[in-house]
C-alpha cells in the first residue's frame, strides 16, 4: 500500500466511490457465500443439518411418529420401547432369555417336538415379539395371570403359552402329539424372554400397543371375493398364490402358510376375522403397515380365514363341528362351522395324514 505511487490512485469522485462500493459488495457477497458453503458442508459432514434440509428420513422424531402411527390409527401415544438385545445379561438368566428368543423366532427348530405346523411365534408377533400392535410380548407379560373366557379359568403365562402351542402351533400334529408338558423348559425359557423384555412396565396395566390394535368396522360386509383380489395383489408375492407360503432352496420355511394343513388350526385366535383384520391392517404387507384400507383388511381377512385348516383340537371323539361350534365358536366372527362354496369349514384333516386333501366330514352340521 505504501509503495503504491499515489498517482496510481484514481481520482476521487462519484465514479470511484461507487466502484469502491461495488468492490466491497462483491467481496462481501463472495466471502459470505464461501463462508456459508464451508459452514454448510461442515454441518452436513457432521450430520448436524436438519433432516428437512438434507431429505434424510432418519430423524428420531419422525421414526417415533412412524412407529406410533404404524398401528395406532394415528394415535400418538408414547409406546414402550423394549430393551435392546445387546442388554441381555451374560449369565445363566441371560442364557435362558436367549434360548427363549431362539424358540420364539424359530419354533419349529427349537421346540421341534411340540410344533405341528410350519409356523413360528414370530410370524404373527413381529420383530421377535417386540413390535407394537402385533401382540408384543412386553404388553402381554405384565397382565398375567388373568381370567380368560376361552378356557374359563385363571391363566398363568404358562397356561397361556400352552394355548399358543395347542392352537396356533397345532401341537396335535407335532412329533409329541401335544403342547409342552407343564414345567417344560420351553415355558421357562419363553417366560424368561418375555420377562426380560417387559422390564420397567407396571404389572396389571395393559400398555398402549397391546394386541393387534383397534380396527374400525368395515363400511360393507367383508367379502371373500373382494378379499381374493386384495390377496392376489398384496399377499401372494410372499405367501404364494395358494396361500401355502414359500420355502428356500433348503426347504426352510421363509413365508408362513396362511391356511391348509401346515397353518394354525381352527382354535387359534387368528381364525377370527376381526383379529386377522386388525393384525393385517396394522402389520401387513410387511414393512408397509396401514397400506390396506379398513375395508380391504376385512375383506382379505375374510378370504384367508375361509379356507380349510387343521381341526380345533377340542373337537375330538364324538364332538362334531356343530357341537364345537355351539360350545366354543358361536360368538366368534369366523367361518368355523359354516359352509364356504359348498364345503364345511372345520373338520380339519385326517389325523396322522396331514395331507393336502381335506376330510369330507359329512352330516356334521353347517
Amino acid at each position: 500500500m505504501s509503495n503504491k505511487h499515489p498517482s496510481d490512485i484514481p481520482p476521487r469522485g462519484e465514479t470511484k466511490s461507487s466502484r469502491g462500493q461495488t468492490v466491497l459488495r462483491a467481496i462481501l457477497a463472495v466471502g459470505g457465500g464461501l463462508v456459508l458453503v464451508v459452514l454448510g458442508s461442515l454441518l452436513v459432514d457432521f450430520g448436524l443439518a436438519p433432516s428437512w434440509l438434507t431429505g434424510a428420513t432418519r430423524d428420531q422424531s419422525e421414526a417415533e411418529t412412524a412407529a406410533a402411527q404404524s398401528g395406532g390409527d394415528g394415535k400418538q401415544a408414547a409406546l414402550f420401547q423394549p430393551p435392546a438385545e445387546s442388554t441381555i445379561p451374560d449369565d445363566d438368566f441371560g442364557k435362558s432369555v436367549r434360548r427363549g428368543m431362539a424358540i420364539f423366532n424359530d419354533t419349529g427348530t427349537n421346540a421341534h417336538d411340540f410344533v405341528g405346523n410350519d409356523l413360528s411365534c414370530s410370524n404373527c408377533h413381529l420383530d421377535a415379539g417386540r413390535q407394537a400392535y402385533s401382540a408384543p410380548m412386553w404388553a402381554a407379560y405384565p397382565v398375567y395371570p388373568k381370567y380368560r373366557g376361552k378356557n374359563k379359568m385363571v391363566n398363568t403365562m404358562e397356561d397361556r403359552i400352552k394355548g399358543c402351542f395347542t392352537y396356533s402351533m397345532n401341537a396335535q400334529g407335532s412329533p409329541s402329539g401335544g403342547p409342552p408338558p407343564y414345567g417344560s423348559d420351553v415355558y421357562r425359557d419363553l417366560q424368561a424372554y418375555f420377562f426380560w423384555m417387559s422390564k420397567g412396565l407396571p404389572t396389571g396395566e395393559k400398555p398402549e400397543g397391546a394386541g393387534f390394535g383397534k380396527i374400525d368396522k368395515p363400511a360393507q360386509e367383508p367379502s371373500r371375493q373382494r378379499g381374493e383380489e386384495v390377496f392376489a395383489q398384496n399377499c401372494a408375492v410372499c405367501h404364494g398364490a395358494d396361500g401355502q407360503g414359500q420355502k428356500d432352496i433348503n426347504g426352510k420355511v421363509v413365508f408362513p402358510p396362511l391356511w391348509g394343513p401346515h397353518s394354525f388350526n381352527w382354535g387359534a385366535g387368528m381364525h377370527k376375522v376381526d383379529a386377522a383384520a386388525a393384525f393385517i391392517k396394522h402389520n401387513m404387507p410387511l414393512s408397509e403397515p396401514n397400506k390396506l384400507s379398513v375395508q380391504e383388511a376385512w375383506d382379505v381377512a375374510a378370504f384367508v380365514d375361509s379356507h380349510p385348516r387343521p381341526n380345533d383340537p377340542r373337537q375330538i371323539g364324538d364332538v362334531t363341528v356343530k357341537d364345537a361350534f355351539d360350545k366354543w365358536h358361536h360368538k366368534h366372527q369366523g367361518f368355523y362351522g359354516k359352509e364356504v362354496d359348498g364345503e364345511l369349514m372345520g373338520p380339519g384333516y385326517p389325523s396322522g395324514d396331514q395331507a393336502s386333501v381335506p376330510a369330507q366330514n359329512e352330516n356334521s352340521g353347517g
Partner: protein, 426 residues
Amino acid sequence: MTDKKPDPRRPDETFEPFEETRRIPWPVYSIAIALAIWGVIMLVQTSTAVEVADKTQKEVAKEDSTKLAQAAAPDLDAGKTLFADNCATCHGDAGEGVAGAFPPLHGSDVVKLGGAKAVTHIVMRGIGGKLNVNGDGYEGQMPAFGSVLSDTEISEIASYVATGLNDDAKTISAPEVADIRKVAGDKDPFDGGAGLAGLINDLPAQPNSEAADQGADSERVARLVGQGTDTVWACASCHGDKGEGIETVPRLAGLPAPYLAKQLHDFQRGTRFNDSMAYVAKGLSDREIGELANYYASMSSPSGAKPALQGDLKRGAQLAKQGDWSIGVPACFTCHGPSGVGVAPNFPGIAAQQPSYVAHQLAMWAGGSRHNSPLGLMAGIGKALNDSDRRAVADYLASLAPMPAMDKTELAAMESNIPVREGVDQ
C-alpha cells in the same frame, strides 16, 4: 519549479491513510477462519484415516505372524465364534442340525470319519444333493465358503467342528488348509454323499448321486455370454466369466431365473432404468432371455464380493438378521431367505452380492429411480435407510458365502413363473 503548487490530491508524505481507515474486510477474516477450521478438521480426519490404515496393516501383519504361530494350534474359541456367525443359522448353535433339513455336525459320522480335513474340504467347496448322516437322509444345498473365509478362519472352524463338536483330537492348521485350497479350492461343490466317497474312507452307504445333467448349454447362450452379437454385448464382459459381478455390476450367478428374466423384461420395457442394460435387453428375444436366466440361475461360482464401503458390519448384520423396526425395516433375511440365499421366484439371493451395487440400488429405490420391486416393498425400505445403513448392509452381505446354484429340476419347476414380455408387471 519551486512555485509549482503541490497537487491537491496528493496526500502528505507522512500520512498513511489506508492503514488507519481501511481495515481488512470482515468477510476476509471469516473466510480465513472458516478455511482454517476446515483445514484443521480435514487434517484430523486424514490423520485418523492414516491411523486406522496403520492399525489395519499392523493387524494384518499380526494376523500373518499369528498364522504362523497357529500352524501348531488353531484358536478353537475363534472357531466357535466363526461357527456361530457362519454355520449356526442352519446347523444350529450346538451343531445339532434340524431333522430332515440340515445334518447335525455334533456327533456326526461324516465328521468323525473324515475329521477336520474332510470338514475343511466341505466348507471350502460346499455340498449339494442327497446325503446320509448317522443313517438319516438329507437333501440340501450348502454354499461354498472358500471365497469368503481365509485359511486361518477355515482351519479354526474345521478344528472346532472336529474337536469341539466331536471327540476327534486332531485339528487342522492354516498352512494345511492352504494346501487343500491349492488342489481343491476351485472345484465345484461335492455332489452329495456320493461325492464324499473319495474323500472319507469307510463312509457308510450314501444315496446314489443324481448328477444333474449339466448338458452343454445351447450354443446361442454360450455365444451371448461370451461374445455377444451386434446389438448385445457379451454378458461376461461386465458381469465376469463366472457371473460374479464387479463394483456396481451385479453378481448374477445363482439368482432365481424368473427374477433375472423379469429384470431383463423390465429393462426392455423401461420399467427399470440402466442405459447399458436397456440397450442389451432390447436386443434379446424372449427365448434368449429365458435361456440366459436359466444359464445364470444354474451357475455356481465363488464370491467376487468383499466389504469395500467402510460399512459398519455389526450394524449391517443387525439389519440383515433382525432388521431395525424403529425405522420400519424388517430383517433382509425375512424375505430374502436365511443367510440371504433368496426365495424363488421373486426374492433374489443377496448373499455375496457386490456391495457397491447393493448400496447403489438401495439409494435408487430411495430416490425412486428404481421402482420395479413387488408391491414397491424395496422403495419403503430404501427410504428408511440412511447412507451409512446402506453401506453397512451392503458390506455385510458382501461378506457372506454365495448362494448355491439351482439344479435343473428346480429350474424346470420354475419355468412357468418366467414372465414373458406381455406379462403383467408386479
